[in-house]
């Protein structure tokens, strides 16, 4: 068993001068806590399995860090994957993975809880567990070992790493972590005796939103899955995700961490809503986080004001999946911009800038951006996602060409000189004409810009599409690497010769492995383990990504990439995540997939009748929108005509939004 009082800092300190960016390992951030551990308290080590720079800003981790530390019966500290140079030191000097808060041995915590936001971090999870001195396979862990847990978007299909996880938290963690803590407190009080591990996991499986992989058995029929069944009658057949009904009840993080060294998204982040009803069919985040739950506009204002004052940040991001859809957006933005005059208020010492990380594609959004970005208009980013209207109907990103051109023209005319456009390629039924539409759109944007400024730049960033669980595209066979390369080649040829148009693309080989993990099953456990054992960590990083490791591990385990990644699934196929529920009816998703193939779009359900996707009705809550009036911008930039009836498959009567006049 790990020694509880081992002083990792003293062991680590002499080596920190020899590693890159040692400030990543010292803690001491504003907002960092030094919680007092005690035998009766359940200790959580919240770990982000990528570098500190990528992991520190993660809001989910920071929210749980605060909620747990506010409890009398829990403590929470943080850890991040050490970079390869420090990992070498830790292994050579036999120093375990540690928390950055009090430099405590990771193996001395009760729970190692990982945030999984990207499939390619799976091998890093194994590496962190191993560095903590804990067996990577859940079945080999003993009562003295920590429980290894995971949450985050990738855990909606945790099957490829089911062998390594003791439990998984699906959906919003705010309430679940408290309930888990209570179960674990009893377990600790009982002395974590021999055999108690299995028992406590079984108890955890009774909690809503908690999935314990070892409590389930998978039967196969050749390569196909026959059934996924709970091992015991008291274990639920299907695990429902957790959903918090009222975001306003959880104004976290209250004390956002302010790092001492450079990280990504280094600014104040205030989440304005969770969920999305636009229904983009490729977008897993939009599907699994339903229903929409807005934060009251007054609370957003307070969190911005207090956050800026407390942190000293000069930038705040209003985060969500589509911030221009926030019903209070104009008032909130106006409040921040107006509170920005010369006075002794700390917020006014220099300008506070506001960023909207997910811009909607329309002129209204650019108007909002112009209001907040008075100076330094350098670049704006939009995501039309596909090059033709046909394709955008298939993916249900209902942006008309006029919307995009209106937005881009508005941006260039108001002084912006660079526009970045995000696209996907390899989408269902995509033709070469659809692919080439990407360059047509981008080129037209360049032409629009040249009317205003000779030196405009349009950057088109193209990613290979990865079908995700709990989306209508979960049945679609992903494009092969050669096919994606061919499409990128088409785009490169078409874009050639236009100096104002820059094309970048994501490595199709990385897309392949993302696809493998995204819809994989339990048989991939040995593959993930083999890749990790051969040094395949930091696969998110292009300099470390190594497809050959994955290919050989697949071959050695008698598994075919083609079967997992490129195959279309049938309606009656048992999917590896069928025992998990994101609240969406499978028949809704299938119908939406059929609509996609028929090139039929599905307008935003917030202002049209309900399609009965299951997200609201299943939880007994409505979309929580702070204002009954649809946000400004008319059609929301989706091309949606709110006044014409649309062919909705199911029309349930919904209650009027909160606060609407009856």
């Amino acid at each position: 068993m790990a020694q509880v009082n081992r002083d990792i800092w003293a062991e680590l300190e002499p080596h920190l001068a020899d590693v890159e960016k040692p400030a990543r390992y010292i803690g001491l951030e504003l907002g960092a806590q030094r919680p007092a551990h005690a035998p009766h308290k359940v200790s959580w080590l919240l770990t982000y399995p990528d570098t500190y720079e990528v992991g520190l800003p993660n809001q989910g981790l920071q929210i749980l860090y605060e909620i747990l530390n506010e409890r009398d019966d829990a403590v929470a500290e943080r850890s991040y994957a050490p970079w390869t140079d420090l990992e070498g030191v830790l292994r050579r000097e036999r120093i375990p993975l540690f928390s950055v808060d009090t430099h405590r041995d990771a193996g001395a915590f009760d729970v190692l809880a990982f945030n999984l936001s990207a499939e390619l971090t799976f091998t890093n999870l194994l590496n962190c567990v191993d560095l903590a001195g804990v067996p990577v396979r859940a079945a080999e862990r003993r009562p003295e070992h920590p429980l290894v847990a995971a949450g985050g978007h990738c855990t909606y299909n945790p099957e490829p790493i089911a062998d390594f996880l003791d439990f998984v938290v699906l959906g919003d963690g705010e309430e679940a972590v408290g309930e888990i803590t209570e179960v674990l407190r009893q377990w600790k009080a009982g002395g974590r005796t021999e055999g108690s591990r299995e028992q406590v996991l079984r108890e955890l499986s009774h909690l809503e939103g908690v999935y314990v992989p070892s409590m389930y058995e998978v039967d196969y029929d050749g390569p196909a899955i026959k059934a996924i069944r709970p091992r015991y009658p008291d274990v639920p057949e299907r695990v429902e995700k957790r959903t918090i009904a009222d975001l306003g009840a959880w104004p976290y993080p209250r004390n956002q961490l302010v790092p001492l060294t450079e990280v990504v998204h280094d600014r104040l982040n205030v989440e304005v809503f969770r969920g999305c009803t636009r229904g983009c069919r490729f977008c897993q985040a939009g599907m699994i986080t339903r229903p929409v739950r807005e934060r009251p506009a007054d609370q957003v204002r307070t969190m911005v004001e207090e956050g800026l004052r407390r942190t000293g940040y000069d930038e705040v991001a209003l985060t969500s999946l589509s911030t221009a859809d926030f019903s209070g957006i104009e008032g909130v933005v106006k409040g921040i911009v107006d509170g920005n005059g010369p006075s002794d208020d700390p917020m006014s010492c220099g300008n506070v800038s506001v960023s909207l990380p997910s811009l909607r594609v329309d002129a209204f959004t650019v108007g909002i951006a112009a209001q907040i970005q008075k100076a330094r208009r350098t670049g704006l980013t939009f995501a039309p996602e596909a090059g033709t209207w046909r394709m955008r109907q298939i993916i249900n990103k209902l942006i008309r060409e006029e919307d995009l051109y209106g937005a881009v023209d508005s941006a260039f005319s108001q002084g912006w000189r660079r526009v970045k456009l995000y696209f996907l390629t390899g989408l269902p039924s995509e033709t070469d004409e659809d692919t080439l539409g990407i360059v047509d759109l981008a080129r037209n944007c360049v032409e629009l810009g040249r009317k205003h400024n000779k030196n405009v730049q349009v950057k088109a960033s193209v990613g290979g599409f990865v079908p995700k669980p709990f989306t209508p595209f979960q049945w679609f066979g992903q494009n092969t690497v050669p096919e994606l390369h061919r499409k990128v080649g088409l785009l490169r040829d078409a874009a050639r010769g236009n100096r104002s148009l820059q094309l970048t693309w994501h490595d199709p080989k990385a897309t392949l492995v993302e696809g493998l993990m995204s819809r994989g099953d339990r048989r991939l456990g040995p593959v993930v383990e083999a890749v990790w054992r051969r040094g395949g960590t930091f696969q998110e990083w292009s300099e470390h990504f190594d497809l050959a490791l994955w290919e050989s591990a697949m071959a050695e385990n008698g598994l075919e990439l083609d079967w997992y990644v490129h195959r279309h699934r049938a309606e009656d196929e048992v999917l590896p995540w069928d025992h998990i529920s994101a609240g969406l009816h499978k028949d809704f998703l299938w119908q939406d997939w059929q609509d996609a193939l028929a090139e039929v779009g599905l307008p935003d359900c917030r202002w049209t009748p309900c399609y009965d996707c299951g997200a609201c009705t299943g939880y007994g809550i409505e979309h929580v929108v702070a204002s009954p009036v649809p946000p400004a911008g008319g059609s929301q930039g989706t091309g949606q005509d709110l006044f014409r009836s649309s062919g909705v498959p199911v029309a349930l009567t919904t209650k009027p939004p909160v606060g609407a006049p009856s």
Partner: protein, 248 residues
Amino acid sequence: MSGSGAVPLRLRVRFAKTGKIRFTSHRDVARIWERALRRAALPVAYSEGFSPRPKLSFGLALSTGHESMGEYLDVNLREGALDADEAVATFPARVDPMLPDGMVIQAVEPLAPGSDSLQEAVTTCTWLLELTGLDPDGVVAAVDRTLAADAIVVTRERKGRAANDDIRPGILGLQVLPPGTGCGVVEAELACQPRSLRPAELVGALDPALHARRVVRIHQWTQAGGARREVIPLPPAATLAPHAQVRA
């Protein structure tokens, strides 16, 4: 620049950087100060233009991993926002709580108009080097050998090319501290002009077997009328106490 002709108030701040925080870089420290001053709601002057930045100027960079008992920073305050006495008196109490563990304000002075920047003013620095790799006698011998040398030529990289420099003139003081201060602790005064002589270069020149496990900048010196003067001297108690903290 201000068009009114009024003189903006500038403060010179001396601070310590010790412990875990020493692993932050010079750029990190700049960002930490910017945020601390905003949090303290101090009326710091900002540059104009597209991307306004607080008007702060830092002294000589301290290498990541080195500690210091004498770092400096000049802060420009907005004209007329505070008078000099009030600013000096309240600065430590307002800003110190906003700094992370290990960064401590030691002294604040108003800066006379037209003063040299810190980069121009500082001519030498005194360092404490805690050395390992040789026994105490070996350290004494290396120091004696270095002091006796007429020239010590090292190869440095300059603009991507190797260049040979004599670093001996840059060593203005070098002594082994008496036993009790800790084995193998050397105090060195090294030139900052025309080029800075880095403590690591001195350690390499002393003996290839030596390794500095701890490096602390304890003084930064300027020249005034031919005499050496500390940028902002501290009362004796304040300077001695930190010396005593140097671990054996």
